[in-house]
Structures are given as structure tokens and as C-alpha cells.
């Protein structure tokens, strides 16, 4: 409508995101999407919102709005939608958005009947405005954006243990909503928050819980799980029996219970056909581009990625795989795809490759990637790690231009499967394909070897399930200790580097976090949160991850987190990008915080965040982040990572942001190398936490070897308990140089 809006390349409105952080005059510049079939109301709303200094995009049809949201992930902070619309019920739209993008949605209607308002609440709307809408009511809508982010952050923080995950899951499941993920999320969040106190206390006080080693739900393990469940009957499957059937030592009933919860949610989500369809669509479309770029990845050495095992969830794999199969259908990755994934990623072997680049890539692009293509993986190179990127809902893997760089990751196999819930990036083995899905761009991050990162957005549960399934299919070798982290990509997808509030990401991560703690792999949809912040349009504004701790930067960081697969396995650190397991990471809302490593607690959440961030940044800019080594140099070295966990997170974030910013500016095609470096950077960052010696710069360069080393180092560090990343997101400007490999 507004010429300026049209002119804006990516943003809905003219306001570009320069990636330096949330606009200083927040909430001005809040990106709002208004959907209303009534032209009069639309015009009035538009004017009112502009008067509030928001960036407004209007739409008269819900379908168009959804398409816009999908295409430009991370382009919006909040959605205002009418309830009664001719082409689609407003509540349906609400559900879709919640599932796919996890953005705060505000409903409007002239109808103020209690039932209708209640419906809005139960479907997960953050608010319900009665028409005629007054200006005052609109002035405050930004609060929903902030609140959502904060909630997600909190979720991340607290989701440190399996119990928490369970709790969350319970909450989710209890939530009646089957209708939308957002609803679930909301509930989840709410529940978490409510019950958190009590439960947390219990859990926190239980050392065993906290220190419980994460269970990495590797593909194999997950397959065993699925087999057991099927044998018992999905409805009748109880953790105890499943455990007995699985006969896996060291697996506890609780692990199984929480995994089952997620799986059930996942299944539930799958049962919603539209999700599937949706999943496919966005991803498929995007995948085209990514596929191509993926091809270029061949060069990347996914192996490097594999090393760290961390695997940025953002599966590059999906990108790679030529045949992008967007499993979309949401339904979980069909095992077939999964298999494909894994196989292809098998190639990833050495972490040395690209991983770092991958990570970066992942970061840049939304973490969410996932697009189901399981087999993709480009040629055998990526065989090793397959990233199963599943995008929940929308996330799908979209490989942005920049992603191409990542794709070169040799062995990264990324399989992204888009789940209704989000994206699950499974990084198998070393390949670290990171898929960063950014608005349309998805980077697939190479997966690390044996790392399956599944980012699950809030709705993780289902995703995890998916992931698990996928993982199950994966090549056994792929399933490394890290297992898979599911990045809930819903959000991550958005991480396009926009630091802007992509709250969505966060929420989705929430679940992930929970899981992460318990499992390590899947559960950490932590990354999901990432999405919310990061989901910004890749185009550009890479919001600094760290910037505005707690402010709009969520997205970026969140994204990263998602993208980063939990660095569960120390061995393969490769995915430093992976989400940091730090559950207790209390990010200020920066993406960093979101990035949680489901893996070992050791990982500072920062690390992951960082990686994600970078990835995001990379991703955000249409993936072509030209991260040259020079760029890295500019970046604050991560080395600055402070020992303080929180600091790390911050620094990491900063780096990421800076990276992101760079990326944003770059807009070039990211070569695989760059991506690799970026990934490396990310991984470095992660590592940096633990190891101040890592030099990201090196990592960043597509020097596989270095990457490998880094990965390894990172991995080791993780093992050693890198520590928690302080959620505080302040980027002090870590310098990349600090990190010495």
C-alpha cells in the first residue's frame, strides 16, 4: 500500500534492519502485519499503526498474509488479524501462524461476545481487541512482542532438565489445544511459568536431575524407541514398557517419558494435514533455491562440522540435498527422508570441514531450516552428518543464497524435514549442514558427524518426535552421542538474522530447551527459540544478537540457537553452532540465550547462540554472507568470551551480531567457505567459552582442518563443562581474534 513499503526490499516497510540491534526507538519500527478483509477498517488500522510509528503491512486475505509470512520470515514482529474473514477463519490463521512462525497474534473483532474472546485465548492469541479499535489499544501491542520473547527466554533458562521438559510437555499436552502450536506454546509457557516455581524448585534441588547427563536421542535410539512404541501401540505405550523393550542401558524411564511426550505431540501435529501441506509449501519453494545452493556445498567439508558433532541444526543438509524433499508434510520426517538424510550426511565426516562455516551459515540463515529433503545431501560428501532439519511448520529448510556457501560442506548431509511443528535439523555425523532458514533463505548447516540436531520450536514435542523418527532412520553412525537436537525451527526459520523480535522463535525453543536438558539431543528445541528472534528476515537486518539484550534481538540469537544443534557430543564439536545446552542460560533475550545446547550442560548457551547468531547473520542476508576472513577479523573475537558464562553468551552474541551485520551487508553469495567460516566462528564461539584459545577466525575460514580441530576442541570443552552461558546478552564486542584455535 504504501510505496515506501513496496520499496523496502525485505522489510515489510521501509525500515531496514541494519542488524545493529533493535531500533533504539523501540517500539517504533515494530513490524506489524494487519489482516482484515474490511478495507475501511484496514485503512484506519494502517493509519493508526503508522501513527504509532510502526512498520505496517496490510493484507485483506488471510491466505495472502500467510504466504507473506512464510516468504518473509522474520519480517514481522506481530500480526493483527480480524476474526471473521471470508477466505479463512481468523482462528485458523492464528493457529497457522502460531505453528509456523510463532509470532504473537492479536485478534480483532466487532464481536465482543465472551465465547469468541475465549476462543481467541484458547487458540493462543496474545490479545483480543474489540472493534472499533482505538489508537490507545494499538499503541501497546509491542508489549506482546516483548513479553513473548521474555517468556521464551525464561523457558530456555529453566528448561534445563528433563523434568522440566516433561513438565512442559505435560503442560502442552494438557493444554487442550490441539489446535495450534501457539496455543500449546502459550500454555506451555504459562504453565511453565506458573508451575515453574514449584516444580523448578523441586528439580533444582535435585542434583541428580540437574546433573543428569543428557541423553542423546540418536537416530538409532529413536528408532528403537519408535519401534517399541509401535509394538506397544501408540496409545498404550508407557515409558516403563518402552524402556523395557528398548533395552538400552543407561536410559532412564524419565528420558523415555519425556521423549514419549514429545513424540506424541509430534504425532498430534502431524495429524493435522494442513500443516503438512504448509510445511511443504514454504519449504519446497524455498528449497529450490536452496537446493541449488546446496549443490555448491559440496565443497564444504562437512566433516569438519561433524567433528564437533554439534551441528547446527539448521541443516545444511536440507539445503544440500538436491532433491529436496521437503518432508513437509509435517508429519514428521518420513523415515524415508530421514534415511536419505542420514545417508547423505554420512559423508560429513570430518568436522574439520566446514563445520564452522556451516555454523555460520546456520546462524545466518534461520535456524529453522528444514525442509525435509532428506536425501539431499549432496553427493556423498556430506554423507556423514546428516542434518535433519525439520522445520516445524514452516520452517522448512530454505537455503538462502548464502546458504550455498554452506552447502559446500562436504559431508554435510542435511536432512531437513519439516514438521508441522517446526524444523528439525538433524545433523548426522559431522556434516554440519546448517540450514538456516530465513525468510526464504535457508541455510543448511552441515551437520556434524553424528550429531543430530533437531531444533524444535516450542512445539517441540512433536518435532522431537519427528526428529526421533528421523534419527532413527539415520545411519547409525550418524547418531552420535549428540544425538539430535531438534531445533524447533519454527522459529529458527525466521532467524534470518534479524535481531528483531522474532519472538516466535523463542517460544518454540522453549520446548526445545526443555528437551535439551533432558536429552540432549532432541529436546533441545532450544534452538527454536532462536527462531523467534532470528526469524527476522534474512534480508537483512541482522539484528545483533546480543544487542539489546532482551530486546528485539531475540530473533537473531534465538535463531542461532536453534541452528546450533546441541553440542551434545563433545567429540564432534563441530557444531559449535549447535545450540547450547545451557539450559539455564538466561539470555536476555538475545538469541544467544535461545541457543541452548541441549547437549551437555557444559555448553554454554552462548556458544550456541553465538553460532547461531553467526549463522543467522549469515543466513539473514540471503545467505550470502560474505564472510571473509576479514570479516571475521572485524568481528569481535569471540575469544573475549568471558569465563563468566553469561558473558560468553553475550560475547558470542555480539559476535554473531556483528557477523550478522556483516552478513546483512554482504548479501553476497556466501560461499561455502564463508559459511564454513561462519560456522566455524560459531563453533568457535561456542568453544570459546570453554576454550579461550579458539580463534574463530581460523575457524571461520573454510579451513576444514581448523574446523575440525575446533570442533574437536569445542567438543572437548563441552565435555569439560564449558559452563553455562550467561544469558545476559550484551555483546561487548568480542573479537574473533581472541579465539584461538
Amino acid at each position: 500500500m504504501d510505496p515506501s513499503r513496496a520499496a523496502a526490499s525485505t522489510a515489510s516497510s521501509g525500515r531496514p534492519r541494519d542488524g545493529v540491534g533493535p531500533p533504539p526507538d523501540f517500539p517504533a519500527g515494530l513490524r506489524v502485519l494487519v489482516v482484515d478483509d474490511d478495507p475501511t477498517c484496514l485503512k484506519i488500522l494502517d493509519r493508526m499503526l503508522r501513527k504509532c510509528l510502526y512498520d505496517v503491512t496490510t493484507c485483506t486475505r488471510a491466505a495472502a498474509a500467510l504466504a507473506m509470512l512464510r516468504e518473509r520470515r522474520g519480517a514481522f514482529d506481530v500480526v493483527l488479524s480480524d476474526v471473521y474473514m471470508p477466505d479463512m477463519d481468523g482462528f485458523k490463521l492464528l493457529e497457522h501462524i502460531g505453528l509456523e512462525m510463532d509470532l504473537p497474534v492479536i485478534m480483532m473483532s466487532a464481536d465482543d461476545g465472551r465465547d469468541v474472546v475465549m476462543k481467541g485465548v484458547t487458540h493462543g492469541a496474545c490479545d483480543y481487541l474489540i472493534k472499533p479499535v482505538r489508537m490507545e489499544a494499538l499503541r501497546n501491542i509491542w508489549q506482546h512482542v516483548v513479553r513473548k520473547r521474555r517468556n521464551e527466554l525464561k523457558e530456555l533458562e529453566h528448561s534445563g532438565s528433563a523434568e522440566e521438559n516433561d513438565r512442559q510437555k505435560r503442560a502442552l499436552e494438557d493444554g487442550d489445544n490441539a489446535s495450534s502450536a501457539s496455543e500449546g506454546n502459550w500454555k506451555n509457557v504459562k504453565r511453565r511459568k506458573d508451575g515453574k516455581e514449584e516444580e523448578e524448585v523441586e528439580e533444582r534441588e535435585d542434583p541428580s536431575t540437574l546433573k543428569k547427563p543428557r541423553v542423546v536421542w540418536s537416530v538409532d535410539l529413536h528408532q528403537q524407541f519408535v519401534a517399541a512404541v509401535n509394538q506397544l501401540g501408540v496409545d498404550k505405550a508407557v515409558p516403563k514398557k518402552i524402556l523395557e523393550l528398548m533395552k538400552v542401558p543407561r536410559l532412564t524411564r524419565e528420558n523415555v517419558a519425556s521423549h514419549l511426550q514429545k513424540y506424541r505431540l509430534y504425532l498430534r501435529r502431524l495429524s493435522v494435514p494442513q500443516h503438512e501441506a504448509r510445511l511443504d509449501t514454504p519449504y519446497t519453494g524455498a528449497s529450490e533455491a536452496t537446493f541449488r545452493s546446496v549443490g555448491s556445498f559440496d565443497g564444504l567439508d562437512t566433516q569438519a562440522l561433524a567433528v564437533s558433532g554439534q551441528f547446527p541444526p539448521q541443516s545444511l543438509t536440507t539445503l544440500h540435498s538436491g532433491p529436496r524433499r521437503v518432508t513437509t508434510t509435517g508429519i514428521g520426517l518420513p523415515s524415508i527422508d530421514q534415511v536419505g538424510f542420514f545417508n547423505s550426511s554420512a559423508q560429513m565426516a570430518n568436522a574439520s570441514n566446514i563445520r564452522p562455516a556451516m555454523m555460520q551459515q546456520m546462524n545466518n540463515k534461520q535456524l529453522n531450516f528444514l525442509s525435509g529433503p532428506s536425501t539431499n545431501m549432496e553427493s556423498g560428501q556430506h554423507g556423514q552428518s546428516q542434518q535433519l532439519v525439520e522445520s516445524y511448520g514452516n520452517m522448512g529448510l530454505r537455503v538462502g543464497e548464502g546458504a550455498s556457501g554452506f552447502f559446500n560442506l562436504p559431508s554435510s548431509q542435511r536432512t531437513s524435514t519439516s514438521f508441522p511443528g517446526g524444523t528439525i535439523n538433524v545433523n548426522l555425523s559431522n556434516s554440519l549442514p546448517m540450514q538456516m532458514t530465513q525468510q526464504g533463505q535457508q541455510f543448511s548447516v552441515c551437520q556434524q558427524q553424528n550429531r543430530i540436531h533437531i531444533s524444535m520450536p516450542r512445539q517441540l514435542q512433536t518435532r522431537e518426535q519427528l526428529l526421533n523418527e528421523i534419527l532413527g532412520e539415520y545411519d547409525s553412525r550418524l547418531s552420535t552421542p549428540m544425538g539430535h537436537q531438534i531445533l524447533s525451527n519454527e522459529v529458527s526459520g525466521h532467524v534470518s538474522g534479524r535481531g528483531r523480535s522474532n519472538m516466535n522463535v523463542r517460544t518454540s525453543l522453549r520446548e526445545g530447551y526443555m528437551n535439551a536438558s533432558s536429552y540432549g539431543p532432541l529436546s533441545h528445541a532450544l534452538y527454536a527459540d532462536f527462531s523467534n528472534s532470528g526469524m527476522n528476515e534474512s534480508t537483512g537486518s541482522c539484528y545483533p544478537l546480543a544487542s539489546g539484550a532482551g530486546t528485539t534481538n531475540f530473533t537473531s540469537i534465538g535463531m542461532l540457537q536453534e541452528a546450533l544443534p546441541p553440542v551434545g557430543n563433545v567429540e564432534t564439536l563441530g557444531n559449535s553452532v549447535s545450540v547450547k545446552g545451557a539450559n539455564d542460560f538466561v539470555p536476555d533475550y538475545d538469541l544467544l540465550s535461545d541457543v541452548r545446547q541441549s547437549k551437555s550442560q557444559d555448553w554454554k548457551s552462548q556458544n550456541i547462540d553465538v553460532s547461531y547468531q553467526s549463522a543467522q547473520q549469515l543466513g539473514s542476508k540471503q545467505s550470502n554472507i560474505d564472510f571473509g576472513s576479514s570479516r571475521l577479523a572485524h568481528e569481535d573475537s569471540i575469544a573475549a568470551i568471558k569465563d563468566d558464562k553469561s558473558r560468553n553468551a553475550c560475547t558470542v552474541r555480539k559476535e554473531i551480531f556483528s557477523v550478522r551485520t556483516e552478513i546483512e551487508h554482504e548479501k553476497g553469495d556466501c560461499t561455502a567457505q564463508r559459511n564454513g567460516t561462519i560456522l566455524v566462528e560459531n563453533s568457535l564461539r561456542v568453544m570459546a567459552e570453554g576454550m579461550s584459545d579458539l580463534s574463530y577466525q581460523e575457524v571461520l575460514f573454510d579451513d576444514n582442518i581448523i574446523q575440525n580441530e575446533l570442533m574437536n576442541v569445542v567438543g572437548k570443552k563441552q565435555q569439560e563443562g564449558v559452563g553455562q552461558v550467561d544469558p545476559e546478552f550484551n555483546f561487548d564486542g568480542y573479537s574473533w581474534d581472541d579465539i584461538q584455535v
Partner: protein
């Protein structure tokens, strides 16, 4: 401040519209949205409203003739109309719409028909009055219009 005769006229007209219930407070909201960058905002919105509402009312009329028993459909149309009328502050029209919807809920076709006639009438009257109002406003000039004298 001295009001020119025209300005006084406009002010008076506006006051009457409010007093007689043709317009409500929402109209003030619209006026607040008008500024130098958008000097004709209110008029634009009102014009848009009348165009869109005419279309809606034509649909309702048709529905009343063709499928009068489909109250759900009628209600749905009227809901839309109500939404836009309330957003510009067309109070009387909105009230009639509400009445219409009540008849729909009851399944009272006759009531609906009568009510709809009222809606049409109020709609036409408002259209005329606002047309005159804006015509006068235009004569005054943009600056004065931007800051209309309190009604």
C-alpha cells in the same frame, strides 16, 4: 481564535451530527489521524466506507430476496457491515445493524426485513450529511480542517 463564518458552520454541523447520534466518538479518532501528511484522511476513509458498505448492503439485499432463510449468511454480512460502521463512528447505522442481527438470531425474517430498511435509510442519510460536511470543510481549507474546531 476567531472562527470564520464557514468554520463556524462546519463546527455547528459537526456538533449536530454528534448530538443527533449520527456520529460517535470513533469519528474523533479518525480526525486525530488526520494531519498535514494526511490532510484528507477522514474524507478518504468515509468515502471508502460508503463504497464498501454499499456493496455489502447490496449483498444483504440480494440474500434477503434469494435465500432469506439463511440467517447465518445474513448475520455474517451484517457483522461485516457493523464492523466498518463502528470503525468510522457511524452510530445510528451501527445500531440498526445490531438490531438486524438480533432479528437474525431470532430467525425473524420480517424483523430482518424491516430492520434492513432502517439500515438503508440511516446509511443514506449519513451519506448525505457527511457529504455536505466534507464539502464545507473543503471550502475552509486544509489547515483549518486539520485542526477542526472542537465539536
Amino acid at each position: 481564535m476567531e472562527y470564520s463564518s464557514l468554520q463556524r458552520q462546519v463546527a455547528y454541523m459537526k456538533k449536530r451530527l454528534f448530538d443527533q447520534g449520527y456520529l460517535d466518538e470513533q469519528f474523533y479518532q479518525l480526525e486525530e489521524l488526520q494531519d498535514e501528511a494526511n490532510p484528507n484522511f477522514v474524507e478518504e476513509v468515509v468515502t471508502l466506507f460508503f463504497r464498501d458498505s454499499s456493496r455489502l448492503m447490496a449483498n444483504i439485499e440480494q440474500a434477503l430476496e434469494k435465500c432469506p432463510q439463511d440467517f447465518h449468511r445474513l448475520d455474517s454480512f451484517m457483522h461485516q457491515l457493523k464492523g466498518s460502521t463502528s470503525s468510522i463512528g457511524a452510530l445510528r447505522v451501527k445500531n440498526e445493524c445490531t438490531q438486524f442481527r438480533e432479528y437474525c438470531d431470532e430467525g425473524n425474517l420480517d424483523g430482518c426485513q424491516r430492520s434492513f430498511q432502517k439500515v438503508k435509510r440511516e446509511h443514506a442519510v449519513l451519506k448525505q450529511k457527511l457529504k455536505a460536511y466534507f464539502q464545507l470543510l473543503r471550502q475552509i481549507g486544509p489547515t483549518e480542517r486539520a485542526t477542526p474546531p472542537g465539536g
